[in-house]
């Protein structure tokens, strides 16, 4: 068995993967992009935002980005667009906008 390197799994041979498809290390789910499933994207209107942090508390995927205790944006790599933040926001400051591919 090889040392587990999540970025190199594509190059692993049959015998090099961890036995039984285990992920032998904790805390690497953030390396896996899950935001691509999203059909609606939350967009914060900072004119309306009162920094109550409800969105941060309710987000089931820890995708509300904070800096020094303030909401600064959304982690779109992991946000799945569930809309809970938008629904819970007491000032309707988060709008769900349909994802439209530019290409």
């Amino acid at each position: 068995m090889k040392k587990f390197e999540i970025d190199k799994l594509e190059t692993y041979g049959v015998d090099e993967h961890p036995v039984g498809a285990h992920i032998p290390e904790a805390g690497n789910s953030e390396l896996y992009e899950t935001g691509s499933w999203r059909t609606f994207r939350p967009v914060i209107d900072f004119e309306k935002c009162i920094q109550c942090l409800y969105c941060f508390i309710y987000c089931p995927d820890s995708s509300i980005r904070l800096e020094e205790g303030k909401v600064v944006g959304i982690d779109y790599k992991h946000c799945k667009g569930c809309g809970i933040c938008s629904s819970e926001c007491p000032r309707d400051a988060i709008e769900m906008k349909e994802e439209i591919r530019e290409d």
Partner: protein, 397 residues
């Protein structure tokens, strides 16, 4: 060789005794006839403090295997037991246990599947789990059930294997009949099985078990690795049997043959009724009929190369299946026998005998019926086919 003690035990008691000596960390189990006495007996060992096992009383076999998967994934040595409908209810978890490469040992006391409801022996339950990726061992008597239960732990946990093992023996015929069993002393068994060293241990370090393998993932590679592991286990199982011979004096093999030298007809069977066929084969030999016997102990992985070699000089094979595969040309054991021959480039007629479904007795004179039919096939008067023996009011034509 260790000091043996001779005890009068039923098959289930013998296995419970082996489990006591193995002292597994966790046993999640749900009762079902004819497996129940194993868990009853083992629960007594737990209640009396003879073992340190955590006995989890679950609400179904689905939960029993789910709990077993959880505890094995956490790094605990785990055993459970079931029969028939119970094994059927474990079905989806059986594939998860083998896919996650968890060395769970499951005692399956063979019993027919409904309908009609029937509590007696056949191998339909195990054959339903045939492709679930478990190592499957069949036993002829209580002694073998005791011995292979101990071996199973070592086989499952071998780092070249890491697969679950299913120990099978016939319901009631073995599970509830008292047999002479030679048991080893506790220390010898515990030293033999050693301690469990899982590749990942959730108790020491957090890991993820059973993650989603997305599109373009590695499912295909994992299935190949799993397939390689069960093929590799063929030699590991024999190694463990060899090591077990050194402590017990009983030396097991995947296939056990008797009278196959120059045999024209070889009977192939597994399970408790091997004894009846052995009795008849010995009698046929004394009458000058060149008959032989192969008992299949390891069913998965199937020792096909060895089998094809063993029957190289034979003219006709008679394969006894205690399960049917409705609509298939052959029942499971005969299918594997045929595939093994074909792979080795050998062609010979095979008679597939369906017997003993739902606990139907296979009488000695019915084995004579099979022999007579076989002789007619040898002489060209009959064509080989699948036959059902012991049907009421009907002889084999």
């Amino acid at each position: 060789m260790a000091q043996a003690q001779i005890m009068n035990l039923t098959g289930n008691q013998a296995v419970a005794y082996a489990m006591k000596q193995i002292n597994p960390d966790v046993v999640p189990a749900y009762p079902i006839t004819p497996q129940t006495p194993i868990v009853e007996e083992f629960a007594t060992f737990v209640a009396n403090g003879v073992v340190e096992t955590e006995l989890v009383r679950v609400e179904s076999e689905h939960s029993a295997m789910s709990s077993a998967i959880g505890s094995a994934a956490a790094g605990a040595r785990t055993m459970t037991a079931t029969s028939s409908q119970g094994l059927a209810l474990m079905w989806e978890e059986l594939y998860i246990a083998s896919g996650l490469r968890l060395p769970i040992v499951l005692i399956n006391v063979n019993r027919a599947l409904s309908a009609p409801i029937n509590i007696h022996c056949d191998h339909s339950d195990a054959m339903g789990a045939r492709d679930s990726g478990w190592i499957m061992i069949f036993n002829e008597n209580a002694q073998e059930a005791y011995d292979t239960t101990i071996c199973a732990v070592k086989i499952a946990e071998d780092k070249r294997v890491f697969l679950p093992v299913m120990i099978n023996y016939d319901g009631f015929t073995i599970s509830h009949s008292i047999d002479r069993v030679e048991v080893l002393d506790d220390t010898t068994v515990r030293e033999f099985v050693g301690s469990y060293n899982p590749p990942y241990n959730m108790l020491e370090k957090p890991i993820t078990v059973g993650p989603f393998d997305s599109l373009g993932g590695f499912y295909y590679e994992f299935k190949k690795a799993q397939s390689d592991a069960i093929e590799r286990s063929l030699s590991v199982i024999q190694e463990v049997y060899d090591q077990y011979a050194a402590i017990s004096g009983r030396h097991y093999h995947h296939l056990e043959s008797e009278n196959i030298e120059n045999a024209d007809i070889v009977f192939i069977i597994m399970g408790s009724l091997t004894g009846s066929v052995r009795e008849k084969v010995n009698q046929y030999r004394s009458q000058g009929i060149k008959a032989g016997l192969i008992k299949v102990r390891t069913f998965r992985p199937f020792p096909g190369d060895q089998l094809a070699q063993m029957v190289a000089g034979t003219k006709l094979l008679v394969v006894f299946d205690r399960a049917n595969s409705p609509g298939a040309e052959f029942a499971p054991l005969a299918s594997d026998v045929a595939a093994s021959l074909f792979k080795a480039g050998k062609v010979m007629p095979i008679i597939n005998v369906i017997y003993g479904l739902g606990g139907r007795d296979l009488e000695l004179d019915e084995i004579d019926e099979v022999l007579n039919f076989s002789l007619k096939v040898l002489s060209g008067d009959k064509k080989p086919r699948k036959i059902w023996i012991s049907l009421k009011g009907k002889e084999v034509e």
